[in-house]
Symmetry: C2
Subunit: 278 residues, 2 copies
């Protein structure tokens, strides 16, 4: 019979761990002195302890380990638990590998530009949302901005504040292209069947901004004319992190644009639907 100190020395674990395992009923000493509370272990218990440590070392929780060593689960169930653990480990491995790639890309960024970089990309999901919008092609940025202002005017006047959400622009055209194929509108908090007429004789119709599982996003603030810089940053990020574009990009205006003291200063979230490159 060993006292806890000697037993812990032999097994090379801490006494605290042995007390803990006792407290949760995972490994109780062979004998406990009723008067003093001293725990006494035998060498034979090292086999159970070893089994516990070996299973724990596989990454199983003590709960699972307990069920296994207490033998009240079948071999098939143990196999199942191990298969689950295996799948989990495989997922963890690929996640950690991704993380490592991101860390490396950040390090490279620092080495290249001497700082953390201006923009931070975050991956998230987006739900579908009703979308009151107008799709058209524009000859240049000037045209598009004019239409933005007209849309803001019309929607502000004709749609109650409780129904309209943020202004969103969906860009269908290739980035490099000269003329812009844009869908300009407002997300809505609930569906409505009203159409909104614009000054030029056109009208906005109700559609839907589809849900997206994986969205690479970035928030920027500044003059709207310089927004393209942020697109470049997103492109670099996607390349470094092995994502590719899987749909038209969106710009969400987080603050009402063209208002306040500096009209051309906007805060927008740029969103790119992406998927993992093979």
């Amino acid at each position: 019979m060993f006292r806890i100190g000697e037993f812990s020395t032999i097994a090379r674990v801490s006494g605290r761990l042995l007390r803990y395992y006792d407290s949760i009923g995972l490994l109780s000493p062979q004998h406990v002195d009723a008067a003093t509370g001293y725990r006494y272990y035998t060498a034979g218990q090292l086999e159970r302890l070893n089994r516990i440590l070996a299973l724990k070392d596989l990454g199983l929780s003590l709960d699972q380990v307990a069920r296994m060593v207490d033998g009240n689960v079948s071999t098939g169930e143990i196999r199942g638990m191990l298969m689950l653990k295996k799948a989990e480990l495989e997922r963890t491995l690929s996640e950690e590998a991704d993380r490592l790639a991101r860390v490396e890309s950040r390090l490279q960024q620092i080495d290249e530009q001497g700082s953390l970089g201006e923009y931070d990309v975050v991956v998230k999901a987006a739900a579908a949302q009703p979308f009151l919008s107008l799709r058209r092609t524009f000859a240049g940025m000037g045209d598009a901005v004019a239409m933005l202002k007209e849309v803001i005017r019309a929607v502000t006047a004709q749609v109650p504040p409780a129904v309209r959400d943020k202004m969103v622009v969906v860009a269908y055209s290739d980035f490099e292209d000269e003329d812009l194929d844009l869908e300009i509108g407002f997300g809505l908090t609930r569906s409505t069947n009203r159409k909104v007429a614009l000054a030029g004789g056109e009208e906005m119709t109700l559609g839907e901004l589809p849900a997206v599982e994986t969205l690479a996003t970035l928030v920027r603030s500044g003059p709207i004319q310089q927004a393209h810089i942020a697109f470049g940053a997103l492109g670099l990020w996607m390349e470094a992190n092995r994502y590719r574009i899987s749909g038209p990009s969106r710009e969400v205006f987080l603050e009402p644009p063209f208002s306040g003291p500096r009209p051309e200063h906007v805060v927008m979230e740029i969103q790119f639907p992406v998927s993992r490159a093979a």
Copy 2:
């Protein structure tokens, strides 16, 4: 200005997280209503939040993230932190890969023998210890067991209980070999310069049981004659987990052998110094 609910919806994080980040001073709302305690955030704060989320996503702790976003560390220090994180991730990756290999070897074990297997291997380290011993070759197991008994008798008689620790046998000979090259003795709790004379005219001398960094160990109990079965299990384990033997094996007798009701029944820990195969 957004209230916490809308801000959390835009950023796709929970309100609880925002309150938490406020409480630890990582991201405080732009404005807090003194009367009601309501938190008000602005769209511009999404940039800070995004940076926080992006850095956290690299696996950094919130403490590290805080120091980075608060900008009171130099680029060099940030680089250092990321390099550290990179090293840590690489270590984690190889650990998890090992774990995965162990899980797979267990699964295979189950498939082959329909159970978890009789023995559980645990890897640990061992410190150096003074060792009072005799090294010799033996013709067979019978000879060796006789010497074991003689050593027990002599040491029990001549070395005080407080000084002697466990009986240890170091096996230098090849496993397959016919004659056994063994070192038989007792670990000591402290150094002593006494020699111990044995019946056959030989004597035990003081040496050292060297420290070992990585020891693959297994505890078994049963007839001493069947100990070789456990060696086989250890060999299989080493093969499956890509370890190779890097020194002579040891058998540590966890309970005094050849005593008690069943004299041939022993509890021993078999230890193999190992290192990772390339």
